[in-house]
């Protein structure tokens, strides 16, 4: 079954340094790191202590409020370091490899005959549950609730994003197994958004396929949810990232947690951007040694340039990410930068900015804010890149003043911070939209739950 969705509002951000479509194997990482911040609102309670050994797939920490939810190790080795920040909050957990590659075995599960409870149980004990996210609130799904629908985006329209068709080719069997399993966990359907000509995701059974046309954020699952069936108050929907679906499927089929992942390492600061086969939590330095760096003063991002996390050059790949973006830092002044004509940066206006002349041009953007933080002034511009049936400026202001009733009425249950990445990108007042929405969602979660 296939239905068409057309996204008319949005903006394709074209950057230089797309990954070349060859897959290179990275060296086995010496250390991996897990950042609890990758699992929003999960408070980690450590399962093992510093210096203790663990196998791949064994629990590193679990959720303090719900011990069923676990995060497992992507490597076998020794837990060497727990880095803590203010109020002893755990920032990252480093595990050093022992080279033995011992893997915990959860046993195979026949997804055709397994009951929903068995599937849920297996996802929880294998640590795969953290790959399941829910809306409202954009957090790891709560196992107690049955989702209305499950949404999966089969393509990524973010800048420099991984071509999922390319990266997941050969994983069809695993993904189908995961889809079959998930189909039993929802009362509704699994909706998969695909691009025209998108090969991998077009041929799965037990799903409803939607052909999605239009510019970014057409590939964001939030956009697809909004077009297919927005979340109402009291409802829950789940979303799973395509790359995680493959890991879940493999775990169900083989009983083993395989954190292997094909990652695009891309960006204009790299010599030879490439696709690299590596694994969750891998050292970025091992990836950058494959691609080479053009310059020293760079921003390394786990994820894409709109929603990713800033990490250092010796940081690690995030638990859910399949992209490392490397772009130049922009920590320099620009003479009369605010009024001279601009040809080498992206703009949605035409105020002496000329990116409208050549919409196909690829840009080398740096991390400069191109101006200072101001109060909200301009109106009407966000709507041009925001495809959801929500008033973006109004919901942001409701979040800022913590007006819970208004936030709920304006559609807070439907959104995730990433839906506001484009409005944040084009904001002339340089307001942190994603953070405002995140804080708003956290407040609602706390107050309403």
């Amino acid at each position: 079954m296939s239905k068409d969705i057309r996204v008319s509002k949005g903006l394709d951000l074209r950057l230089k340094g797309e990954a070349e479509k060859v897959i290179v194997d990275a060296a086995q990482p010496k250390t991996v790191a897990i950042r609890p911040a990758d699992f929003h609102l999960i408070t980690p309670k450590m399962a093992i202590k510093e210096g203790e050994k663990l196998k791949k797939g064994e629990t590193v920490f679990y959720h303090r409020d719900n011990p069923e939810i676990k995060v497992v190790s992507p490597i076998s080795g020794t837990l060497t370091k727990i880095e803590r920040g203010a109020r002893r909050k755990i920032l990252s957990i480093t595990i050093e490899t022992d080279g033995a590659n011992e893997t915990a075995d959860f046993g195979t599960l026949d997804v055709q005959s397994a009951s929903p409870e068995q599937i849920k149980q297996r996802l929880l004990e294998s640590g795969c549950w953290v790959f399941v996210e829910q809306r409202p609130y954009a957090v790891v799904a709560s196992p107690g609730k049955t989702p209305r629908d499950i949404f999966i985006s089969g393509f990524d329209t973010n800048p420099l994003a991984v071509d999922l068709d390319f990266a997941l080719r050969g994983k069809e069997k695993e993904i189908q197994a995961a889809l079959t399993a998930f189909a039993k966990l929802t009362t509704g359907a699994i909706h998969v958004g695909v691009r025209e000509g998108n090969s991998v995701f077009n041929n799965f059974s037990e799903v409803v396929t939607h052909q999605v046309k239009g510019p970014h954020p057409a590939g964001n699952v939030g956009t697809q949810i909004a077009k297919i069936g927005p979340v109402n108050k009291g409802e829950v929907v789940w979303t799973v990232k395509a790359q995680n679906l493959a890991i879940i499927g493999e775990m169900l089929l083989t009983g083993k947690f395989n954190p292997e992942r094909i990652v695009a390492v891309a960006g204009s600061s790299l010599e030879t951007p490439k696709y690299i086969r590596t694994q969750i939590g891998a050292e970025v330095s091992s990836l950058l040694s494959v691609t080479g760096l053009k310059e020293d003063n760079v921003r390394v991002i786990s994820g894409n340039v709109l929603t990713g996390d800033k990490i250092s050059k010796d940081g690690h790949l995030g638990y859910n990410d399949n992209l490392i973006s490397v772009i130049p830092e922009g920590d320099d002044y620009e003479f009369f930068g605010w009024n001279k004509p601009i040809f080498d940066k992206v703009s949605t206006s035409r105020a002496m900015t000329f990116s409208w002349l050549n919409p196909k041009k690829k840009y080398e953007l740096n991390t400069n804010t191109n101006g200072e933080h101001r109060a909200f002034v301009m109106t009407g511009s966000y709507e041009e890149v925001f495809p959801l049936d929500i008033y973006p400026l109004q919901i942001l202001k409701a979040c800022k003043v913590k007006d819970l009733d208004q936030m709920e009425a304006l559609g807070m249950y439907e959104v995730a911070p990433e839906d506001f990445a484009l409005t944040e990108f084009i904001c002339v007042s340089k307001q942190p939209h994603q953070k405002i929405i995140r804080d708003g969602l956290d407040l609602m979660y706390k107050e309403i739950g």
Binding site: K345, S349, A351, E372, L393, Q394
Partner: protein, 407 residues
């Protein structure tokens, strides 16, 4: 060591100090800051608020330059020293003599407007410890363009101080104000010093002075510079052709006279996506509709030419666009994003009502036949209400969806 490094060292020196906002305002005027993103999107669009505001100023500059020439032109024309200009490029208009009059009368207005306004902005920024915001760059340019040419500078200074403090800073500065600051300044002038803001003596440079000399016993001809609206309000035939009015060879506030340049400015603002075409278009539509209604009243014979409203009511509806400050208000003042409606649907309603009420006030206000600034200020107050009902539509849709689900 270059200028860039020197300024960077100074910035570090001022960091955290009281005067930092004042220094940063000047520094960021020269250099785009070296600030990088942290959290959120790692790249940002090229535009910032300075560029946005600067674009509006660029759209205003032709009106300012034209206003300077027009100040001299109206002055010498009233003295009878030059012939009326025939075409837009007439040498009688674009002369050094005319420009000189413009420079000595209008540049001081610009300097006082920016000087007083920015001083207050800096002061508030330093006291409150936030950066100097760019809103006043546009306000400071608008103010000299919407006042009569001979307005005493001290009056302007008082009005600017009032407008910036009461119209903007008390609400929290740029982005928080309810009323358009430039129009607040004009409203203050209008109600505090009405004799300097209306009548037939204030629109031409030298007219007031000449009146005083005559009163003192000098044997001179009085200079009169009645605006078209002034004539119409008194049921008199205006002294200017429609063509003059379109090009701008007429007396009036400094920057509002040339409809041609205002239309060019509007096209520039729409093209750059800085000004809202929705507001501009709907304001014009609103004015046309109200004009048509009044024309209908005249055609139906409900009033005759003895009525004091006859002159303006019988003006063909589309000619309302060519007289007075309607177009200037629609293009540069109604579109202020902070005080206008913020939803796209709301902008249509907001603009339409501005045009509609402008003509209403214009026709029914015998003392002062111009209503644009009052109409815009009124709608500024109602803009949040309009938005409220537009947003309610979205909220209702969401509630209905929920009901369908649960039913």
């Amino acid at each position: 060591m270059g200028l860039k490094e020197k300024l960077h060292k100074l910035k570090k020196k001022y960091e955290g100090k009281k005067m930092a906002p004042a220094f940063n305002a000047l520094h960021t005027f020269l250099y785009l800051p070296n600030e990088t993103t942290h959290g959120g999107t790692h790249v940002k669009v090229a535009d910032d608020l300075k560029r946005t505001m600067n674009t509006v100023i660029m759209a205003l500059v032709p009106c300012l330059i034209f206003g300077m020439f027009n100040a001299g032109y109206q002055h010498y024309l009233a003295l009878g020293e030059i012939q009326a200009a025939e075409s837009f490029f007439s040498a009688n208009f674009w002369s050094w003599d005319n420009l000189w009059v413009g420079l000595i009368t209008i540049l001081p207005l610009v300097i006082v407007s920016y000087g007083v306004g920015l001083a207050i902005e800096f002061l508030f920024a330093v006291i409150k410890g936030h950066e100097v915001e760019e809103g006043y760059l546009v306000t400071g340019m608008l103010v000299p363009l919407i006042v009569p040419v001979d307005i005493p500078l001290w009056m302007l200074a008082v009005a600017v101080a009032f407008g910036v403090v009461i119209g903007k800073e008390v609400f929290g500065g740029t982005g928080m104000n309810i009323l358009n600051p430039a129009l607040t300044i004009r409203a203050f002038l209008f109600f505090a010093y009405p004799t300097w803001m209306s009548g037939d003596k204030v629109w031409v440079h030298g007219a007031v002075e000449r009146t005083k000399e005559i009163a003192a016993g000098a044997k001179l001809d009085a200079i009169s510079g009645e605006t078209i609206l002034g004539s119409l309000a008194q049921n008199m035939e205006p002294a200017y052709s429609l063509w003059d009015s379109f090009i701008g060879f007429i007396p009036g506030s400094v920057g509002e006279t040339s409809k041609l340049l205002i239309i060019l400015g509007a096209l520039f603002l729409i093209f750059t996506k800085i000004g809202s075409w929705r507001i501009m278009l709907s304001t014009v539509l609103g004015a046309l509709v109200m004009g048509l209604i009044f024309n209908g009243v005249v055609d139906a014979g409900w009033i005759d030419n003895t009525s004091k409203f006859y002159g303006l009511m019988s003006l063909p509806f589309w000619e309302h666009l060519l007289v007075g400050g309607l177009l200037f208000g629609a293009v540069y003042m109604a579109t202020d994003p902070v005080t206008a409606s913020q939803t796209n649907k709301g902008k249509w309603i907001y603009g339409f009502l501005i045009g509609f009420i402008s003509i209403l006030i214009r026709v029914f206000n015998p003392a002062y036949p111009e209503g644009v600034f009052l109409a815009i200020l009124l709608m500024n107050v109602f803009a949040p209400t309009i938005d409220h009902y537009v947003v309610q539509g979205n909220i209702k849709k969401r509630k209905k969806r929920l009901k369908l689900k649960t039913a």
